[in-house]
Symmetry: C2
């Protein structure tokens, strides 16, 4: 899922997100949109799809992760998380119920449950406490969601497995959440500073505990070369700012590795970023031109680089989906 | 002409510049492209059209105006203008011949002659001196251009009428330049701080002195409401950063005046920027969404606002062209 934090995938027209990139779902951030422009305004304007003119699927996170990473003075209690806005310092409380309500106002297709995400490393005791709170919040969020779902069409609710890097806690959490019989599940609390092997290990032991017939979503991963590793472990969905953020920083992903566009070797390179890529950027422009735009600080660089990197990621996912359907995914993994 | 200073119209894909906006010609700045990435590199990569993937027309200015406005330590002599790069302080000399050569390396469709552009107000004596130097430079530039044109296909050369706000100097300059029998002519030295009535007055007295059958180009104008005033005085071409720069600053031009998007009144306004505009932005997004993007500092705001403002300008020019062809331009002027 391309990340559209503030109801925009940075530098990409919605038309190109659907047409050129063929994105079928994007992620938007509840924390950011709660603070600005706010769920009341978005609701009044017909929901997030209409507000941002995007008629395909939208997943919104619960806001929990951003509270932990962006805001000051957060205080976690069983009731929820109290925090100060990074924009103006105003105090807000996110509860498991309120974050569901916010996402209902957005009209999100996938609603994420509030969770407590710890940094790495965390002690077993702290991780257990956060995990058990996450389960209680999931129960409360799911109850609120079921109440809404009984009255009107709503998006699907996904609880989030926590437990830091402890196998016993991950198992306990997954088993408790599966009891909720939610439409899908996420594995959270990864990509928080741990070694990559550990992220994969936690995924490998958690994914099989989640229902096979429902979407399994690992949050916040990953590097292009990691995507097949997650898919091989039963993961259906991922989100990551990396393709778009790295694009803006001048790092382009290609079939032959990374292109750091500011390097002098690309100064008069007439080749496209990736000769095997069919994106608008690669069909149209040379590395030399892209390097010029980057050096000159031109917005068009971010636009073109984002189109390319997102194509790189989405094409990888499309190739994997085709290989799974064809029954050739094991060979795909070995290439 | 949309302005594409550094071989990009800021925030617009070349595909949208041609398709969505229907731009037939853009302006690029010789000063900027001379410094970075340089005419050798652009020439080696096949010229500016190929470098930036734009197969429609490109006009490049002479670099003179940017030298006067951007660089330090400039020194004007009859030989040319010595200046320091605003990027790294390197010293460079632009001569009437070298600026033609640079634009030949770019492969520009319209090549502007080096001129000396004074700030407003200038004394009659200073203006006369600058104007006479401009004429000598035009003679030297035209000679260099004719030599190239006798050997290969080149773009068209446009000399520039100077003379500050003095009718006698404007006349003297125009008459001398017409002797060169160039493919087109520009009126320069306007929009340098003078009252708008004076810019129009200078245009009104200069345009009739330039050949009716050749393009007449007023440089660096204007506000949307001024465009018909210039056309009415016989002007065929204009360029201005205003539509794109104002777009990035949150000022949108509409059929009912300006929309300053940050204003609170647009906070939950579901209407398009301009209900009478058919651009992608107005077809797709609300003022409320655009205001959100602007407040959030999102790149997409600049992209969408630029598409809109350039459409506003180009549509105005298209309407005037149609009215002239229909013989209804006098009525158009009065509406």
């Amino acid at each position: 899922m391309p990340v559209g934090t503030q109801a925009t995938v940075k530098g990409v027209l919605q038309r190109d997100l659907a047409g050129e990139l063929g994105a079928r779902i994007i992620l938007a951030n509840t924390y950011h949109l709660f603070l600005r422009p706010g769920p009341e305004l978005i609701g009044r304007l017909g929901g997030l799809h209409r507000f941002m003119s995007w008629d395909r699927a939208i997943l919104t996170d619960s806001g929990g992760f951003q509270v932990f990473s962006l805001s000051d003075l957060r205080k976690v209690t069983d009731a929820g998380v109290l925090f100060r806005s990074h924009l103006n310092g105003d105090a807000h409380l996110f509860t498991p119920e309120s974050t569901v309500e916010t996402q209902l106002a957005f009209g999100s297709d996938i609603i994420m449950v509030l969770d407590e995400c710890l940094a790495y490393p965390a002690s077993h005791e702290a991780a257990r406490e956060a995990m058990r709170r996450t389960v209680r919040w999931a129960e409360a969020g799911a109850a609120r969601w079921r109440r809404a779902a009984s009255e009107e069409a709503t998006g699907a609710l996904f609880p989030i497995v926590q437990g830091s890097m402890y196998a016993d806690l991950r198992s306990e959490c997954a088993r408790a959440l599966v009891e909720l019989d939610a439409p899908g599940y996420a594995i959270g609390g990864l990509s928080v500073g741990e070694p990559r092997a550990l992220s994969l290990e936690m995924t490998e032991l958690t994914a099989p505990l989640l229902p096979r017939e429902k979407p399994r979503y690992v949050m916040g991963v990953g590097m292009p070369e990691e995507l097949p590793q997650y898919v091989a472990r039963g993961v259906d969905m991922m989100d990551c700012v990396m393709p778009s953020r790295n694009a803006r920083n001048g790092c382009l992903f290609t079939s032959e590795g990374r292109v750091i566009i500011k390097q002098a070797r690309y100064r008069d390179d007439p080749a496209p970023v990736d000769a095997r890529c069919g994106c608008y950027t690669c069909r149209t422009y040379s590395r030399a031109y892209l390097r010029h735009l980057f050096q000159a600080g031109e917005m068009l660089f971010s636009m073109l680089a984002t189109l390319h990197n997102l194509t790189h990621y989405l094409d990888a996912m499309r190739r994997m989906r085709a290989a799974i359907i064809d029954g050739t995914f094991p060979q795909f993994l070995n290439t």
